[in-house]
Structures are given as structure tokens and as C-alpha cells.
Amino acid sequence: MPDFGPQAGYILAAYGLFALGLGVLIAASLAARAAARRRLARLEAEGERR
């Protein structure tokens, strides 16, 4: 890890926020698509049972 000196706290906080923000966005997007696929599959299965 490079020595960022007295500004290390600001730099690490910025990169931490960046990782957290993008991580949550990626996870939420994938979860939304998975939930949509499950919903469609459930509806299709219900339609076939009728």
C-alpha cells in the first residue's frame, strides 16, 4: 500500500465510498433482474397449470 501521508484518510474514504456505491448498484441491478426472471417463471408455471 503506498504511503498517502496525512491525506490517506480522505483518499481511502473516497475509494471506499466508490467501491460501496458501485457494489450496491451492481448487486441491486442483478437482484432486480433475478427477481423479474423468477416472477415471470412463476407466472408462466401458473399459466401452464390452468
Binding site: P2, F4, G5, P6, Q7, A8, Y10, I11, A13, A14, Y15, L17, F18, G21, L22, V24, L25, I26, A28, S29, L30, A32, R33, A35, A36, R37, R39, L40, L43, E44, E46, G47, R50
Partner: protein, 256 residues
């Protein structure tokens, strides 16, 4: 999402409408996404490595300048995503493109996240550089307004149940909000701001040293491709949800 686009026969317009088919979009995007994600991850890793470990510190700002490699691309994307949404709004209102409103709805949360990251990382850069977390100067305030517009658009999508009505209302709001884009871009030229003027996209070329410019441009490209990946995933989710809505409606009304 209009399911049946108007048929066109001229070259470019035909391609435009051909790619507008939701089924075709799902097919092409599913094949493209793994490659796009891999290129994005590689570029992001390379850009972060160069920006954190290789690029020199700034002679005035010192090490805190490394925040630039995430702050500036986030700012570019905050405006870039909104510009794309403005085109999508035109697509909804003028060309009635079948995927325009899907694209607009998918992009808003991504743009809001980039804008929020831009503001937060800018604040963390501003404290050691300017001695303040926040200043109500034209650049920072106009970017904050952009974030509020994104929130307004997301709220409007949720407030109107009927997709076509929601799409038109959001498209109009997006076009009105686009007035803020030139204000953000030129705020540092039109007013005296604490924020520095443009140093990459400016007349006369970039003023940043090539050793710092290269990782910055790599990160900019990585952010743009990341947006592409997330946009595809969110558009796929929206298309599947609308299919499910139609199926649920058919089942509720007893249609075959």
C-alpha cells in the same frame, strides 16, 4: 414500452427500428454482456492500479489528487447518463422508439448513483484541498440540482402506475431538466467558483500531465462501459417485468 414500432424502410432508420425490438434486444444483449463486463473489469483494474500506485502526486495538491481518478469519471457519467436520458426522452416523445422509455427508466438510478458519488468524493477531495467539505458555488450547486432532478425522475416513475403515461411525464421532466447540463458544464466559466475550470475537455487540449491523464481516461472509459453493463442488466429486468405484467393481466382477465 410500445410493442409495435412503426415500420421503416430507409437504411439507418431501418437498423434503428430493427434493434428496437425488445426480443432482439434481449437476445443481443445476453450475448454481449459477459464480454462487456470482462472488458470493464479489466479496464477498471488497470485504471485503479495506474491511478493509485503509478501516477505521480500533484505538486500542489499532493496525494489527495488521486481522488480525481474516481471523482472526475463519476462527474462525466453523471452528465453523460443524463444526456443519454435526454435522447431517450426524445425517443419516447418524438420517435416513439419502443425501448426509449425502458432505457430512460433503467438509466435514472445509475445516473443518480454516479452523481451522488461525484458529490461525495468531491467533498472528500475538497476538504484537504480547499479546507471545506462544501461550498454553495455554481458548479457544486448545479450538480446537487442534477441529483435532485434524478431523484424527481425516479419518484415520478414510481408515482404513475400506467407505463405509457409515466413514460411521457418522465420524458417531459427529463427534457426540462436538461437545461441544467450546460449550466453545470459552463458554470466554472460563467461565474467565479471555488471549483477549478475544465482541464481535460477544453479548447487548446488537456492541461493535465500525460502520466495523470492516461489513468484518468482509462477510468473514464471503464465508467462508461460499466454504465453500459448496468444499463443492459436493468433494461433486461424492466423488459422481463413488463412481460410478467402483461401475463399477469391476461391471467387475471382469463384470456388464453
Amino acid at each position: 414500452m410500445n410493442e409495435q414500432p412503426a415500420p421503416r424502410s430507409d437504411g439507418l432508420a431501418a437498423a434503428f427500428w430493427s434493434l428496437a425490438n425488445p426480443g432482439r434486444f434481449m437476445q443481443y444483449s445476453a450475448a454481449m454482456l459477459p464480454w462487456l463486463a470482462a472488458i470493464t473489469a479489466a479496464l477498471m483494474a488497470y485504471g485503479l492500479y495506474k491511478g493509485i500506485f503509478v501516477a505521480p502526486a500533484d505538486y500542489q495538491q499532493g496525494e489527495s489528487m488521486r481522488i480525481m481518478y474516481i471523482h472526475v469519471p463519476a462527474a462525466w457519467m453523471a452528465m453523460g447518463v443524463y444526456s443519454m436520458m435526454t435522447l431517450s426522452a426524445l425517443g419516447t416523445l418524438v420517435w416513439r422508439h419502443p425501448l426509449a422509455d425502458v432505457s430512460q427508466k433503467a438509466a435514472a438510478p445509475i445516473g443518480a448513483t454516479f452523481t451522488a458519488l461525484c458529490l461525495m468524493t468531491g467533498s472528500l477531495w475538497g476538504k484537504p484541498t480547499w479546507g471545506t467539505w462544501w461550498e454553495w458555488d455554481a458548479r457544486m450547486t448545479s450538480v446537487l440540482v442534477l441529483l435532485l432532478i434524478y431523484f424527481g425522475i425516479i419518484a415520478l416513475w414510481r408515482a404513475i402506475d400506467e407505463p405509457l403515461r409515466a413514460a411521457r411525464a418522465v420524458a417531459i421532466m427529463t427534457l426540462v431538466g436538461a437545461v441544467n447540463l450546460p449550466i453545470i458544464k459552463f458554470s466554472v466559466d460563467w461565474w467565479n467558483t471555488l471549483h477549478q475550470p475544465a482541464s481535460v475537455f477544453r479548447r487548446g487540449g488537456p492541461t493535465i500531465h500525460p502520466a495523470m491523464l492516461e489513468p484518468l481516461l482509462v477510468m473514464g472509459l471503464a465508467f462508461a462501459l460499466l454504465f453500459g453493463c448496468l444499463q443492459i442488466v436493468r433494461m433486461q429486468a424492466e423488459i422481463i417485468n413488463r412481460r410478467a405484467d402483461r401475463l399477469a393481466l391476461r391471467q387475471a382477465t382469463g384470456e388464453a
